[in-house]
């Protein structure tokens, strides 16, 4: 019964989405002729709006009130139904109901409970249901909490959200039904890919999905704003928390995914420029640009068309990412179940939504008046530079990801990897680091170069000093990496300048957020540069009792013994490690054998020290009793993910700060 109930809930949610779309259409049309009170207030608060689009003077919040109330409730019910459907799917996995195809193919009754639950979204159908659930829940969230936007714009936004939802409901119902029964039921399941049996899986995909789908809210806001020709600070302030939230989740998802690949795949690398990784990076780049441009729009009412464009692009990148992952048209290490029908379906949705939205953009954005302008040397100027550089990076990643496809259309086979991306992106990324350092040192609207130079003196000196010291220590062999570390030091110092000599308790939370996020960028860059310049690798075949050195470590293979876990057995090496004359410690890398499905995995053993990580992998044994041992010493590699964590934390502080401030402003306005 559970499976049937889940499917019924899904169909009901789809029906509510349809009603939501129709109602939104009506409410938005009513809203065109009646603008809300709140919008009015915003119009007068910004001087440029006087001759702008909002000329209506009807102060009728009640004009669209009844349909709006209904619309809000319908969006809430739709969200709850989708959530119910997803909870029922999890219940099927928890009960190991092998009469459901999806459970039989992706789960096993003997799996640890956490992986049974995670198994619900560790497959195509379940992950798409998760996607649609988050989409519906986000729509419900907008409907319940958004009070700032003009009624018509909110209605149009909810309509756009419903339209997106309908497409994905159709995709689930017609091409990826997760509730299909298996008759007769399987005696037991086939198990979950062992690589995915890791706490990382429990969090990585849902986090990314929350990010992707959060961007769909930004997309819906942009479509709503375009439909109603209502682009201004109020729109930006309404959209910003959603962009921030999506961006935080994307940051966490990418950081966690990178670390997961690093320790689980046993290759010693943390980023492979794989199409699926790029698919998560591209929306993040667009969202990062959007985050900064939406701030210009909210604070200074500038960059209207550009912000709309970015909101559309960010979600387009999420959808293209989903398409690339699910269609299998590109060669990737992420082997998802590939199905051309599904690929075609997602491509059709992509064409309808993104094509439609871009057509709307072309037709409407000309009628949106230009926002306020600013001087080149100003905070806005730096943010525009940031946006341009991020767009360049996005463009390079996009071209690099799709180029093999274009080459294939021309009859040439090739693949594009790290050498291209590193060569093309490192200079742009370093320029971006400089812009990131300079931006917060500038004043809004107008500033001058001399003042900037004065404020940048300390960070620049720090960067120069760091460069001189490291260069003297290691020489010119790793020039780019040394430069990157120096710039990271400069950026780190520059990022804390905005809170220096300020009353720290009175510093707004969102400023702290910016400071911490920018500091995180510096930390992450330093980690990447240190790893690429200073890592040492050693591959050796040694017998028990022999030793091998890597970096400052001497590693002895003490013995190799069998080990056993809940659903795997393993060969485990005992490595005794000594650094110089320091304390000896042990590491236990494993080769694991899973029986359901039969798979071998390498479990790297990693020790984290203050100045880096020692990464050890046990390889094959040979006939002479020697074992392949692969060792990496990676100085300061942990900074990469620490930086990622700081970036996300900064985003979270900014989000809390913004939401609290808006609440306070709303409360004061009502008094």
């Amino acid at each position: 019964m559970i499976a049937e109930a889940g499917l019924a809930a899904l169909w009901l949610a789809a029906a509510f989405a349809l009603v939501q779309l129709v109602l939104a259409w009506g409410a938005a049309r009513a809203g065109t002729s009646a603008r809300s009170e709140h919008d009015e207030r915003q119009s007068f608060s910004s001087e440029e709006e006087k001759n702008g689009a909002s000329t209506s003077s009807a102060r009728t919040t009640s004009g669209g009130a009844a349909p709006m109330t209904a619309l809000r409730r319908i969006a809430l019910v739709q969200g709850l139904l989708a959530l119910l459907s997803f909870v029922l799917l999890i219940a099927l996995f928890v009960r190991s109901d092998m009469s459901v195809v999806l459970v039989a193919e992706n789960s096993h009754s003997l799996k640890p409970m956490i992986y049974k639950v995670a198994g619900a979204w560790g497959n195509h159908e379940g992950s798409m249901l998760l996607w649609v659930t988050v989409l519906a829940a986000a729509g419900a969230g907008v409907a319940m909490f958004e009070r700032r936007l003009a009624v018509g714009t909110l209605a149009a936004t909810l309509g756009a959200q419903a339209a997106i939802g309908l497409g994905f409901y159709a995709f689930l119902a017609f091409a990826s039904n997760p509730f299909v029964r298996l008759d007769p039921a399987a005696p037991d399941g086939r198990g979950l890919n062992p690589l995915l049996q890791d706490p990382g899986l429990a969090f990585h995909p849902p986090t990314l999905y929350l990010g992707y789908v959060g961007l769909s809210v930004a997309f819906s806001f942009a479509v709503g704003a375009l439909l109603m020709r209502d682009v201004g600070p109020a729109f930006a302030k309404a959209m910003r928390p959603w962009v921030l939230a999506a961006w935080i989740f994307l940051t966490i998802g990418i950081t966690a995914g990178s670390y997961w690949a690093y320790y689980e795949l046993g290759w010693g690398g943390w980023w492979f420029w794989d199409p699926v990784e790029n698919a998560s990076l591209m929306p993040w780049l667009a969202a990062t640009a959007l985050l900064h441009s939406v701030t210009v729009l909210a604070t200074r009412d500038g960059l209207r068309a550009w912000t709309l464009m970015l909101a559309l692009v960010a979600f387009a990148m999420s959808m293209i990412g989903t398409f690339l992952v699910r269609s299998g048209i590109l060669v990737s290490v992420h082997a998802f179940a590939v199905d051309p029908t599904r690929g075609t379906f997602i491509l059709a949705l992509l064409g309808i939504y993104i094509g439609g939205a871009l057509a709307l953009f072309g037709a409407r954005v000309g009628t949106i008046t230009q926002g306020s302008t600013f001087q080149l040397v100003s905070r806005e100027g730096a943010l525009v530079l940031n946006n341009l550089l991020l767009s360049v990076i996005l463009g390079v990643v996009f071209i690099g990801t799709l180029y093999p496809l274009a080459a294939q259309a021309a009859g040439v086979q090739l693949s594009i990897g790290a050498p291209f991306f590193n060569k093309a992106l490192v200079p742009v990324a370093l320029a971006l680091a400089v812009a990131t350092a300079a931006g917060p040192l500038l004043r809004w609207r107008r500033d001058n170069m001399n003042a900037l130079a004065k404020r940048a003196l300390v960070p620049a000196a720090a960067a120069g000093g760091a460069f001189a010291v490291i260069f003297a220590l290691v020489g010119g062999a790793h020039f780019v990496s040394v430069l990157a570390i120096a710039l990271a030091v400069g950026l780190g110092v520059a990022s804390v300048v905005p809170v220096v000599r300020r009353n720290l308790r009175r510093t707004p939370l969102h400023v702290w957020g910016m400071v911490i996020a920018h500091l995180g960028v510096a930390v992450s860059i330093a980690g990447m540069a240190a790893d690429s310049a200073f890592k040492t690798e050693r591959l050796a075949a040694i017998s028990v009792g022999q030793n091998v050195t890597v970096g400052p470590f001497r590693v002895t293979l003490a013995d190799v013994h069998p080990a056993i876990g809940p659903n795997w057995s393993a060969l485990e090496a005992r490595l005794q490690v000594r650094r110089g004359d320091g304390e000896m410690f042990e590491l236990f890398p494993q080769q694991r054998f899973f029986s359901t499905p039969p798979t071998n995995t390498n479990e790297a053993a990693i020790t984290t020290l203050l100045d880096g990580q020692l990464y050890t992998v046990l390889g094959q044994g040979d006939a002479q009793g020697r074992w392949q041992i692969r060792l990496w010493w990676k100085p300061f590699v942990t900074l990469i993910w620490l930086g990622g964590g700081l970036i996300a934390l900064g985003g979270l502080l900014a989000l809390i700060g913004r939401v609290r401030r808006e609440r306070r402003a709303d409360a004061e306005a009502e008094e």
């Binding site: 692009v313 269609s327 690929g343 871009l358 072309g362």
Partner: protein, 174 residues
């Protein structure tokens, strides 16, 4: 100008859409074809792997069409294609071989249990000859024509229904 620019994103999107749609309609050919097909055999001089069986020298692979089989004792599909190679040998085809990253003992054992269709076996310890041929895996089988040119490349194991096709290719390569 500004009007045109506003439609640029849609045009760009349409192009990307067409590109990925074409990728979807024409599933990619994931095999790596050799760029050497139609060209003379690269200069190879591989030492003999087994006593009593000569190695490979490009200059000697001329005069009549033959097969050049890239194999390894550690390769499972190579076991699967062994009966077909024996059949080709019985049909009078000369088959020379390049053993990839292998040892004499292992190859000896492999031939003892799967049959030995080879006239020559060259020892390619570091896959250099394999790369020179434009081969990206094992097994692969090249048809070398009478003039010493690479006439055809067969990727993967030789199945039973590939045998007539290979015989036809050899006929064409005379």
């Amino acid at each position: 100008m500004r009007r045109v620019l506003l439609w640029a994103p849609l045009v760009l999107f349409a192009l990307v859409f067409a590109l990925v749609a074409s990728g979807l309609l024409r599933p990619a050919d994931r095999t790596v074809h050799s760029a050497m097909v139609g060209k003379p055999l690269p200069a190879l001089a591989l030492p003999a792997l087994l006593p009593g069986k000569p190695g490979i020298a490009s200059a000697e692979l001329k005069g009549k069409p033959r097969l050049l089989n890239v194999f390894a004792s550690w390769c499972i599909p190579c076991i699967a294609e062994a009966p077909q190679l024996m059949k080709l040998k019985q049909a009078g085809v000369e088959i020379d071989a390049i053993a990839i990253r292998d040892t004499p003992e292992a190859v000896q054992a492999f031939l003892a249990s799967n049959g030995d269709p080879y006239a020559r076996i060259g020892d390619d310890k570091a896959s250099r000859a394999q790369l020179a041929l434009g081969s990206s895996g094992v097994p692969e089988t090249f048809v070398i024509d009478a003039a010493g040119r690479i006439a055809y490349q067969h990727i993967g194991d030789v199945r039973a229904d590939d045998v007539p096709m290979l015989l036809a290719q050899l006929e064409k390569a005379k």
